[in-house]
Amino acid sequence: MKPLALLATLITGALLLYGTADFAAWGDPASPPNRNISVRYVEEAVKETHVPNIVTAVLGDYRGYDTMFELVVIYSAGMAVMGILRRREDQ
């Protein structure tokens, strides 16, 4: 199975690298990610949330749903590890 796994990893990695070719140019002010919503975040975040750190404002407010499920992912990971590994003395 190991050569197959290596092959699958290499193909997936190659596909992902191929996909990066379509990314917007890094730091390009005219690229689509920089023209749409991020302008609004930079301009309005402090006015709308009173949080000087825009990263925190986006993480906790605008993208709060994403952050909530990040915590749920960590929580599930911990519960899964606990459920699989933890044993009592008498078991």
Partner: protein, 159 residues
């Protein structure tokens, strides 16, 4: 070279005064820094995830220096699980509370109905409350995963 479990246990070094003193002095400052990273997330890089990891690392450091049972006296198994659940519930509970009060899910400004302050200020405070929940959850889950991984789930010896 494969060694038996008994041999491996005999090879564990005995208590080391330099290591224990260093860790005992470092842990309060690490925890203070972790709290600082959480509460100062509004003004500097940081927040619940980073601060929680720092707090969790302080307990893991205790487990490494004094042994896993000593760290379980510091943060008991039950407290750990309760704090993990409370942390996750703070976040989801505040989110649900916002929806129950008639606003959007996670729109902290409707919390003015509970404590009448400026809605924009509530957004700032709502982010802070949520970050505290994230910090509690991340810290306790980090410690819990370390305990399980280091002792194969028995929580007795550790590394």
């Amino acid at each position: 070279m494969k060694i038996s479990m008994q041999e491996a246990r005999d090879r564990i070094p005995q208590r080391d005064i330099i290591l224990e003193t260093t860790v005992r002095l470092m842990v309060p400052f690490i925890q203070l820094y972790g709290l600082y990273v959480i509460v100062h997330g509004h003004y500097s890089p940081g927040g619940g995830f980073q601060g929680g990891v720092v707090l969790g690392a302080s307990v893991i450091l205790l487990a490494l220096a004094f042994g896993l049972p000593a760290s379980k006296e510091y943060l008991t198994e039950g407290t750990d699980i309760i704090m993990a659940n409370v942390g996750a519930l703070i976040f989801t509970g505040i989110a649900a509370l916002c929806a129950l009060l008639g606003g959007m899910f996670l729109d902290y400004s409707v919390l003015t109905k509970i404590l009448p302050i400026d809605p924009i200020s509530w957004r700032s405070h709502g982010i802070f409350l949520v970050e505290v929940g994230v910090g509690m959850g991340v810290m306790t889950i980090m410690v819990s995963i370390y305990w399980d991984m280091a002792s194969a789930g028995r929580l007795d010896e550790g590394l």
